[in-house]
Amino acid sequence: MSDSPAAIRVQGLRKLYGSFEAVRGISFEVAPGEIFGLLGPNGAGKTTTVEILEGLRQRSAGEVSVLGFDPEKETGEVKDRIGVALQATNLPEKIKVQEAAELFAAFYTRSVAVDDLLRKLQIWDKRNALYGTLSGGQKQRLALALALINDPELVFLDEPTTGLDPQVRLEIHTLVSRLKEQSRTVLLTTHYIEEAERLCDRVAIIDEGRIAAMGSPRELQERVLGHARVEVSTAQPMPQELPESWQGQVAISMNDGRTRLSASAAKPARVVVELVRWLESAGIEIEDLHIKRPTLEDVFLELTGKSLRE
């Protein structure tokens, strides 16, 4: 984290709906210029957390600061300075793209030039199209445009690519990456692992109202599952004798026919070299060899015992 004050600071946040505790003591900080991901299944408490940060909901307990403001008490200040692209929102069918942008521009103290913004988000050509005639991707690009209309330091993106086809998703990812280049802070919620891996500097995995793990995608993978696995399959059974250097360093598992081996190691590249040497000296032909890194999906499964996609 940098030395400048955090864009978002959350300390011991709790939210009760009646007797149901949706958020059970969450703490995290997001540094300026960082893309921070909240990853978790539906109902994990992501949306509640984000809505508290956006000033839409009141918290039950804890401390929250967004750009130095308390979103509950200084809602107007917060709303005026953040950009938000919400999931499951709409605009009137008959509003034109440019009109929508100009309308939202009028809501904020500060706003950027609508023309430039629409050009940057590649919907300038559609500026006179009615909202109802736009494709899913165009709608999402407009949603991003509206989120950026006030030139916000901090942007909340709630499931920005849910329901979009892969091609469009890639386009949106490119646009989000560009936000980072403009050194904006982004808080992204998603239940797409790839999205978090691709875009986020850091990720918090949320489950049942708690943060199960937090860190860069790489850190999380390593912390939770530790090591990458080297997997090899051969035409003939492998020898009984393993290389001596693996003793106590490499965890090995093999199938009954001794034709498939999986090795887990802190330094997988080294294991590969030794493995190839070992098999060649035994005159055994390698059919397939690859290094498998654990994904966030694996991390999530490991941490919560749940699949994200259900």
């Binding site: 005026d80 929102t89 009109e99 309308l103």
Partner: protein, 589 residues
């Protein structure tokens, strides 16, 4: 900055509304269809009153529709579609959204008011003096009030279906009971009372009052006040209960807030039931509307009142006055936008003036049925003016005000004067002959048992034989000296019959030797002159009140023709005589 948000949101809402064909359909096309259908169907071409009614009806359609459906259901739709959710994260409050809905509703509606008024003027020749400023004020406040009530529907409804149900539940009864769709008088009494509690009734009476009676916005300040109060409550509640997302549900108890909006009208309604002003107003509006019907009486013999006779002519009645008297051919009714009354073989003359009556005192209460019934009997019998010669109860002024305003149907109450020296009818009765109750008019108007009861009471009096002959001689003497008095039925006397006496009196005059033309002149222009009402009554002349009588045959040849009444017009209103008689007979049973 705030103002910029209001302006931008209002501008865009207006644009979106104008892009929405459904809105245009409900705001312009549908009312237009109703306008044309009712305009043609209700005879709006010949009756400015009917046109005013159509205008009010169409305006009510528009205001209620704009309010409940345009305001209420629209707002619910925006929430259901997730549109409001998007605005929720922007730094705006519900206020600009609600304000935009109100302003848009108003801005889209007002042109339709202009459209319908222009249509009424040019297509239907509607030429009533129009207090446009007041109309716009009342209609504008109506639109805003109903729009705010629509917003409250959106605030308390949890789904589209719910809001549609609530809107329908409010729309239909308000439209039906406001008096716009169905005249209030034909509704059962309890429904009429219920109507006093509905905001729509106030709006309707306001627009009708302005269109028909030339009222101003100030005259309708109570209704305007109630609507403004309801609007304030509705907006306050709407802001309090405003929901950006469909997932936020409102508790069932919150729906009771609708009742809060109704509070001003509950108070108004209770006050109306207590002081009955609206009931009176409804009757006046109805009367004004009937008085404004245009009539063209064609092919008729005209006794002008001052002695002259037009053997074949016509009379055009418009806005309760005689607009034109034709000699010879009368124009086509369509050319003058009037309802035709073919009167070949009949005679038209000024309605008669009874120059000496006394109002039935009853319990000293001018609203008493007795006075109303007496006035109806006069009108039924072709009497258009009454000189009240003795007024011990001091009723005349109050009765005159009620007749002039249209609250009561009756002849014009003329300033009191000395009673005429002679009444042959009174003399005949004094002689013990109650011939008047056997006249056709009396038989038609009064129930048999009532007349018999009257005769029986009369029978107890000591008769003065020869009274009629003496009075007739006196009358002849006056005639010969050129001092013919105005005729009177002398219904001032005790147990006299109000109404048919004057026609009976004139018949006795002719029997006594007075020429019919002189008798008729005495009962019309001369009587009006004597009462100082010559500028309104007593002659068939352009500019005078259309208070006229059409009889079968020619009373100049046979005075008894006066009893064969075909039509009576009082200030332009053609009297529904059959209705009056059956109502009276019913009440006397």
């Amino acid at each position: 900055m705030r103002l910029r948000a209001y302006a931008a949101y209002t501008a865009i809402t207006l644009k979106l509304t104008l892009r929405d064909r459904v809105v245009l359909f409900f705001n312009f096309l549908m009312p237009l269809l109703f306008f044309v259908a009712f305009g043609e169907g209700m005879g709006a071409k010949t009756s400015p009153g009917a046109m005013s009614q159509v205008l009010s009806l169409v305006l009510m359609f528009g205001v209620l529709g704009t309010g409940f459906f345009g305001g209420g259901i629209r707002a619910t739709m925006d929430r259901e579609a997730g549109i409001l959710r998007r605005f929720k994260v922007a730094p705006i409050t519900p206020a600009p959204l609600l304000a935009a809905s109100m302003i848009t509703g108003w801005a889209v509606f007002i042109p339709s008011v202009a459209l319908f008024i222009s249509l009424a003027r040019w297509r239907y020749g509607w030429d009533q003096p129009l207090n446009l400023g007041s109309l716009l004020i009342v209609v504008s406040i109506g639109v805003l009030a109903f729009r705010s009530m629509g917003l409250i529907i959106a605030s308390v409804a949890n789904s589209m279906q719910e809001s549609q149900i609530i809107a329908q539940l409010l729309y239909m009864p308000m439209l039906l009971l406001s008096g716009a769709a169905v005249p209030l008088q034909i509704l059962p009494d309890w429904l009429q009372k219920l109507a006093q509690f509905l905001p729509a009734t106030h709006l309707y009476l306001g627009t009708q009052g302005i269109l028909v009676r030339g009222e101003t916005a100030w005259d309708n300040r109570d209704s305007i006040g109630a609507m403004l109060l309801a609007m304030a409550v509705a907006l306050w509640v709407s802001i309090k209960l405003f929901r950006w997302e469909k997932d936020e549900k409102v508790k069932p108890a919150a729906k009771l807030w609708i009742a809060g909006v109704m509070v001003p009208f509950l108070l108004m309604g209770a006050w109306q039931l207590y002081d009955k002003r609206n009931e009176t107003r409804i009757r006046m509006l109805e009367r004004q509307s009937r008085r404004s019907q245009s009539w063209l009486i064609r092919d008729v013999r005209i006794f002008t009142g001052d002695g002259a006779v037009i053997e074949r002519g016509g009379v055009l009645i418009r806005n309760s006055r005689i607009e034109k008297v034709y000699e010879g051919a009368t124009p086509d009714p369509d050319a003058v936008r009037a309802e035709a009354l073919e009167a070949g073989g009949r005679t038209l003359l000024p309605a008669l003036i009874d120059s000496g009556i006394q109002l039935p005192v009853g319990k000293g209460n001018p609203s008493g049925d007795a006075v109303e019934r007496a006035l109806a009997a006069y009108v039924y019998s072709g009497v258009g003016g009454l000189s009240v010669v003795r007024d011990p109860g001091g009723l005349a002024d109050a009765v005159r005000a009620r007749v002039d305003s249209g609250e009561w149907l009756g002849p014009e109450i003329l300033p009191g004067a000395a009673p005429p020296p002679v009444s042959l009818t009174a003399a005949q009765a004094a002689a013990g002959d109650l011939a008047v109750i056997h006249d056709d008019l009396a038989q038609q108007f009064f129930a048999g048992p009532y007349l018999q009861g009257l005769a029986a009471l009369r029978g107890h009096h000591q008769p003065f034989p020869g009274a009629l002959e003496k009075a007739a001689a006196a009358l002849r003497l006056l005639f010969e000296r050129g001092e013919l008095p105005p005729p009177c039925s002398a219904a001032a006397g005790w147990l006299q019959l109000h109404g048919p006496g004057l026609v009976h009196e004139l018949a006795l005059w002719v029997e006594a030797g007075i020429p019919p033309r002189e008798a008729l002149r005495a009962a019309t222009s001369a009587a009006a002159q004597r009462a100082g009402a010559a500028s309104r009554l007593g002659r068939v002349r352009e500019g005078l009140d259309a208070t006229l009588l059409v009889v079968d045959g020619n009373p100049l040849e046979d005075i008894r023709a006066l009893g064969r009444i075909h039509s009576v017009f009082v200030r332009g209103e053609r009297i529904a005589r059959g209705e009056l008689a059956s109502k009276n007979k019913k009440s006397q049973k």
